[in-house]
Symmetry: C2
Subunit: 271 residues, 2 copies
């Protein structure tokens, strides 16, 4: 199936799914008219489960450059002051974190400028764990997207599409970052796949590894195309095996320091 065919098929899916959403909204309006409690205002009460997609961030958390991404200095002590707090030194691109467009551009959107409507997204999880066990630098491909759509329907506009490679389980081990020879080894997205996701109006991509591009990437093709397009990425996601392939909503707690290129984020899914 050619890419254009897929795109057309996807558009068709999207139209039909939009009609379904319209029906749901209409149903909600009818419910209000009838005096029935609708799910929308009771969102928190109506949700099933909150799933944490965030690793605990520690000075030992693996980083791309191998330098600790966090230090914590206790600047106020409880026994002296009756309360306590820390001063943190944080490298923006460490822990479960955001890559804003400004990370790979000179004038792109900074992390505080990301549109808030792109921080609450339908979550689509593409599972490549089985393949990643054999091919450590494997990439999410256009075929993986096609397979996902066949199984789950359309990828909604404004979605966050996450790669689940199983890598989150390795985070305490050197193999999260390197092979035995010290080469970067982890899965990522292919540029062809993220180009396809761009056409579908996807808002964000996420990976459970150190980089949007695979470990053996020589050109950071995804970083240099996805981020300059104005979209953002999430790296070092956790917990993706605890959410469904489709149907969850992800809340991306991107940091909001002015002019930042990214930074540690709390990422939660609601199923």
């Amino acid at each position: 199936m050619c890419n254009a065919c897929i795109t057309n098929a996807v558009k068709k899916h999207m139209i039909s799914r939009r009609d379904m959403f319209r029906s749901a909204v209409a149903l909600g309006a009818a419910s209000v008219a009838a005096g029935i409690v609708t799910a929308r205002p009771a969102l928190a009460a109506a949700h099933g489960t909150v799933v944490d997609l965030t690793h605990t961030f520690t000075p030992e958390f693996p980083t791309f450059d191998g330098v600790p991404g966090l230090t914590m200095e206790q600047t106020v002590k409880f026994d002296e002051s009756g309360y306590q707090l820390f001063r943190l030194t944080v490298d923006e691109h460490s822990g479960t974190h955001i890559d804003a467009p400004l990370h790979f551009t000179t004038d792109g959107t900074s992390v505080d400028e990301l549109p808030v409507e792109n921080l609450v997204c339908p979550l689509c999880v593409i599972d490549i764990e089985a393949r990643a066990q054999e091919e450590v630098n494997t990439m999410v491909s256009t075929e993986d997207i096609e397979t996902w759509i066949s199984a789950n329907g359309d990828i909604p506009e404004g979605a966050c599409v996450a790669m689940h490679s199983g890598w989150a389980d390795k985070v305490g081990d050197a193999s999260y970052r390197n092979d035995a020879d010290g080469n970067f080894t982890f899965p990522g997205f292919s540029k062809e796949a993220t180009d396809m996701l761009m056409e579908m109006g996807v808002a964000a991509i996420g990976v459970d590894t150190l980089s949007l591009d695979p470990g053996n990437s020589a050109d950071f093709a995804v970083h240099y195309s996805w981020l300059p397009s104005g979209r953002y990425g999430i790296e070092n996601l956790a917990g993706l095996r605890n959410v469904p392939a489709a149907g969850a909503t992800v809340f991306v707690g991107a940091p909001k320091h002015g002019g930042g290129t990214g930074g540690p984020a709390r990422v939660l899914a609601v199923t």
Copy 2:
């Protein structure tokens, strides 16, 4: 109306509201059975508006102790490396941020340990803006809670109850923190009010000022009771005038550094 009366009235409200939620869930189940799209899996698509309750965090953002809470050092430059990033130095309790129980205890819950189900909450906003314009150290009282309940029904278990004092608009001005004589001046919660919220099973409180306690507090009574109870607080909220008193859901993107006493958070409401 005595506190016990209010508590009983609230319990009664809660029971009836719970029954309404049950009806809503049953309605959802019936919709699934009928092949109709329910709002739950289409959460992100079905929501109305995402409202940012987070101030942009800058080195100039006012802090309790007057010391800048953020510095940013560019450690990788685009013209040298083809990408760019910053190293941040962050005082945990600056910007829009979380107070975890560990901030005012020696062994309480740290910010990374906050239960995730308490980070997605029904949002209740208590508006004391009119009074705060006259009384700069005014407090959310039990009467304010009673008035809110009369107007909006119960405060749901697990809610986040936020004080809207209008202070967020002053954030660029010295009056956000001090009066002309240099005294701390800003509204907060009274201990009596937060004790009542504890009885109602509220998960979190939030303020649009520098502290959960008012500026002229001599004893930090709310900090020393609310936080040791295992609950958390949010300080320096923004945007509360853009959400309804009841009906929104708040996503609290608490940071997840291990053993932290709090830290800057992205807080978003979905209406």
